[in-house]
Amino acid sequence: MIAAPHLSLADLAPLLFVFGAACVGVLVEAFAPRESRHPVQVAVALVGTVGALVSTLFLAGAHEVTAGGALAVDGAGLFLQATIAGLGALAILLFAERSLDPARSAFVAAAAVPVGSPRDRELATSERVQTEVYPLATFAIGGMLLFVAANDLLIMFVALEVLSLPLYLISGLARRRRLLSQEAALKYFLLGAFASGFFLYGLALVYGATGSVQLRDIRAAATAGGTDVLLVLGLGLLVVGLLFKASVAPFHTWTPDVYQGAATPVTAFMAACTKVAAFGAILRLLYVGFGTSEWTWRPLIYGVAIVSMVVGAVLGLTQTDLKRMLAYSSIAHAGFLLTGVIGLGPGGTGSGLSATIFYLLAYGLSTIGIFAVLTLVRDGDGEASHLSQWAGLASRSPVTAALMSLFLLSMAGIPLTAGFTAKFAVFRAAIQAGAWPLVVVALLASAVAAFYYLRVIVLMYFSPPSVEGPTVGVPGLPTTLVLAITATATLALGIFPGAVLDIAQRAAIFVG
């Protein structure tokens, strides 16, 4: 006789919304006539993500474990779910943009057609759009929502796969430069599968050491006899699997290729949402599972934070492609985020959790914004992402250049932008936890990284425009909406961050 586990459906509302929308999306793909698919798919995906966002707001203040201890519904989890759902909705809007590409979509018309075949050339200019990207992305968002709420390593692994598999697919769906996109997808898949293997092996070792996959039991075991080699080894492997998803150096090698190869809206989606989800899982694993045995992971996180910041800042300097540059920037930011993770503080009293979740929100908004700007600047062959093509952009399109500068300044952490508030929060958390050498490294890395952000501003404003420069497309409603929201949020979180910081602080609780 198996007793049914306690399951609170209301607590699962965000997940149900998104997974429901994804399932409906699959049905729409199968049964709706081709002409009406696109608007319906967009609407379904938006209803799912916005519904999830709204339901997290209704759940605010909840603090319980449900589904037989497998899912946690707590402040930090809900904050991260709201962040993922909100950023996901913005990314869906970017997917839905139809007025920028002459072929009316950033996605390939038929992904299975071989590159360079006569059929492919025929489809390249056709206005046929394929809409499978919406249910795929919705599934990925669902996986992410599950990932940050998983209170059980097995559920965490399932969520990891649910979010990863659709991502591998949609990064291969770019309409332009298809070979690059397919190569990126394959690379991402192979390395991602490898990382999943690490995670699974770690899971097995931890289970072997503690006899349970639930974070609560692992915590009890770690507190009681934390010196178990098997447990520490298992933790290390779990963290490696997660760091891969979070694109932390030295597990970052897929990042530049995938960021460059994938269609820019997809890159925006991956850069923002995946990072939030991966860090959500890292935070929950470390703080809930190993919060009482901080010594087991602190040196590891300390080390990879430094490596990630240095690699991201230094290698970013040599990039000539904007999307690759932003990939290295995301690696550096992953290091800054880990600086916040260090700030657990004695007995969990530090401000590391609230600082990190605030950072994720601020970073996600600026990242979606910056990639949205990238989709606007185009030449005959799609987006003009080479740095030299951006020379003198300010004289051609002052608004685009101003938006880009705002997002870049936020990435560089200049005061009065969201990026500064976020950086300040994580650095404060780290110094309070005694990690001031790490903060010094982080500050130096910020200074180095500022150089490549500035270089783009220099190019846009101070260089003469080239004769055959790119054109700046007039965005349709979806992209305009995304730009307006992200720019406003980037400024608001810089100038009046008080309210959101308070929310993050109140939300910064993990249910044990």
Binding site: F420, V439, D502
Partner: protein, 535 residues
Amino acid sequence: MSSFPFLIVLIALPAAGAAVVAALPRGRELLAKQVALAVSLLVLVLTVLATVAFHAGGARFQLTTSVSWIASFGVRFALGVDGIALVMLLLIGVLVPVVIGASWDDELPSGRSMRAYFAWLLLLEAMMVGVFAATDVFLFYVFFEAMLVPMYFLIGSFGGPRRQYAAVKFFLYSLVGGLIMLAAVIGLYVVSNSQLGAGTFAFDALRQLDITPGVQKLLFLGFFIAFAIKAPLVPFHTWLPDAGSEAPIGGAVLLVGILDKVGTFGFLRYCLPLFPDASRAFAPAVLVLAVAGILYAALLAMGQSDMKRLVSYTSISHFGFIALGIFAFTTEAGTGAVLYMVNHGLATGLLFLVVGMLIARGGSRQIGDYGGVAAKAPLLAGAFLIAGLASLSLPGTNSFVSEFLVLIGSFHAVPVFTILATVGMVLAALYILLMYQRTMQGPPRGVLLEESEAPEPVSAHSGGTATVTAPAPVRSRLRVLDLSRRELAVVAPLIALIIGLGVYPQPLLRLIEPAVHATLSDVGVSGTATGGTHR
């Protein structure tokens, strides 16, 4: 009147002005200029009224405002001025309208609009007011960094041929310094958190902290390096000659006239009161840097052939004097140093403006491209001479008072350094007078020469025999216009202030001295016997 929120208005007004100017439609350049000038003049009036409302003998910080800003960090939007900050606000109030007037007819690089230029100028003014008026360390840091952005665009968009390089160098140097300071700011917060129970950034609360000497030294260095880059002190100075020479004249005036004073202001406001033990411990090292800077930069100034670079180097030399005055820890020297900050802004500001007017006529920044200008443009030459004499601290000009106070105040505290510093005065006379002589005196030559139909007697002008000049071609004359009425209106107020404050500096001294005295009593040195008269 004193309940009027002067400081908030002084920040909001130019910021709003910047938004208005930027939002004006293309082609309304004249209106943009008029709005900018009106706003900056209104700011000047308000700073003067704020000075009237300020009681020199009263509380240390006056005209205070404080509202909660980021509660979870314990940050308050707290403003207030002591005498030191107030005189800097006055300097901002005077220099910005002058700069706007001077930039009225500037020829900008192609594709640049005057609206953007004035919008950045006004935004910069708002940031500068904020940085001097902040009494919350976090708020100070925010203005300190945010101030870079308008300056970066002023240099990068409107500067000389190597403007991209200069703008990036300026930004990165300042940003690195700022980030080091950020670490120290967070460190201060953490110390306050452990000592007071709740973290705070309020200057008055942080001043009361009892920080252990080791931590104090680290935090002092964090702040000091940021300010030393900003000021700049040798060896952190290499960005200034590039930025100063590539910036448009208006930007250069504000850069060395006010922006760099944030560094020396920071020494006085933050390094000394917050870290008194560390300040005393590091004072000898700072004095070495200061005196080295005075001499080294003066020697480099003499070697420059580019006028804007020369003026930039003279500034570095002068900043050495200011640092000497601050770290001598006597009330006279400290008061002199603050007065020096104001006077240097006026004198070097005028020098930059006049040099800019000359460059606008000749199109070259090289000293060797000019000669004998005085004969054709006596007003220009006169203004140049007054600016130069003020720069070399001739008695009767404002700079003499401050330099004298610094030297006399430092002498009984640190005699050796003071004696070495006086050598700098001699060098100052050399580099200023040589530049004046080469460009203004002697036979006409250089880029302003014009082949003329009628032979022009040149013998009348060839007075300066010591000048290094090529023999003037006989059949040529200088074609140079003297100062226009607009240019006269720009230089006249500065000249009046230079002479006026040279003869009667008391009003400023009355404002400065109590604040300096209060600062030094934080350090635990009482100043000298004469220093305490106002308390």
